[in-house]
Symmetry: C2
Subunit: 252 residues, 2 copies
Amino acid sequence: MKRNRIAEIEELINKRGKLSLKKLSESFPHVSQMTLRRDLLALEKDGKLIRVRGGAMSVQDVQKASNVPYTKKTATHTNEKIQIAQKTARLIDEGTSLYLDAGTTALYLAKEMPDLRYNVFTNGLAVATELAKKNNVSVNLLGGVLIKENLSTASSLASIYFTDSNFEVAVLSAAAFTPESGFSCSTQMEADLCKLICRKAKSVYMMLDSSKIGKIKPYTFARLDDINVLITDSAFPEELKAQLKEQNVVLL
Amino acid sequence: MKRNRIAEIEELINKRGKLSLKKLSESFPHVSQMTLRRDLLALEKDGKLIRVRGGAMSVQDVQKASNVPYTKKTATHTNEKIQIAQKTARLIDEGTSLYLDAGTTALYLAKEMPDLRYNVFTNGLAVATELAKKNNVSVNLLGGVLIKENLSTASSLASIYFTDSNFEVAVLSAAAFTPESGFSCSTQMEADLCKLICRKAKSVYMMLDSSKIGKIKPYTFARLDDINVLITDSAFPEELKAQLKEQNVVLL
DNA sequence: TGAAAATTTGTCCATTTTTCACAGCTGTTT
DNA sequence: AAACAGCTGTGAAAAATGGACAAATTTTCA
């Protein structure tokens, strides 16, 4: 019982990089924080992780990514995003050529993806770095101007760049969604890129945590009839489900 | 004042592995704990250490305990490389448009560069990530296939990509150098890219730590008459200096 | 099997550490 | 000299931690 839990914690921490005690507590609701604390202590003694204020971080992670700041960025809706990423990971077959955007949900997806022969195009540095850890995944990074806020690239040459590149699946995420304005984001460059991606891909999977619903950002890049699958969390509002069905969008 | 203290703290922590705030306070009796705390915070943001309850621990130390390939590579001849990077940083004026390669020396250079209005092209993810921390530097990342060994990109489209991009200075580094075979590297793609860069740049600065001298790798990408400045460390052999002069290469 | 022993776990709480907000201080620029 | 930005110190509030002990569970062994 204890052994199992400790093994699970170790696995979890290596997957996520770092974990707050709070998140850990959510993953193991049937035991007390004190117990989890003691587990972390044991794992630390084994050199498997480093305890930091509020939780712990993976030693593996520290060893691999030497120049990334370890400051805990208070990420929002982490659990929902991970849940969505896990669902999405299951949809992607080995051998698929796919496009992944630069968002945090995409990063979680990159972490959740098994080490199989995928071909991934992306414009996200973090996504690329994460995928570089996997031996069988081949990664292709879109070049261009570096956007510092989210470490992604954008380029007016994207269409040239993609002329001879093909992908079956595009996995995107949006900063905002309403049925009327569709999926929108903050910058025009981003929107242009997403539009291009949507045109190139055979199917478009949209990852959307429910906190984005009802929001609008300046640039719409896709509407419901542009996408094939919508992956979301359990808080997705019932009244939208009918609309999805009408547009032949699969909801997961 | 602050800079000095932070540098000292970094050194101290790398020496001791970990440090409690109490010990740290003893080493710096003239400043308050709060200030030291803020210093640790700044160092954490730079990825130099990890704050743990009661103090901080060295990232170097954590990495040393591993046998991950990356880590090993970054660890060789660190001091020489930093020395070279510092020299190079001084050569680059504000407003310059430059190309930086993906090597570890380039990464050190990126760290050493002041936060001024530079325009940097690079194919190294670590270099790009590092430069993203600086507000005034604009970064342009070359796209292409991700090479996992050193987190760089390579692309047959590079020449197209660069048609409308211009840089005065190319800062390169080589894996090997002999006077006969010139500067060489391990892969053809890398060599092709470097050749292209050398043609596009008005001046080529080569960073070469002396451990590379006398070695040969399969693909030569430049010879002495292709470069303008050679930045190296103090162990550079005397007998080569004459040859450099002959080819009008400035030695620093 | 059953009871004692050992291990694991939960709760309470004192202690330590951290963060926050604000005010004072420093040195620099105009 | 005044205005300014950046650094530093202070004290109180908040958060996290670890210890002690009792309760629950598992293991051991007769």
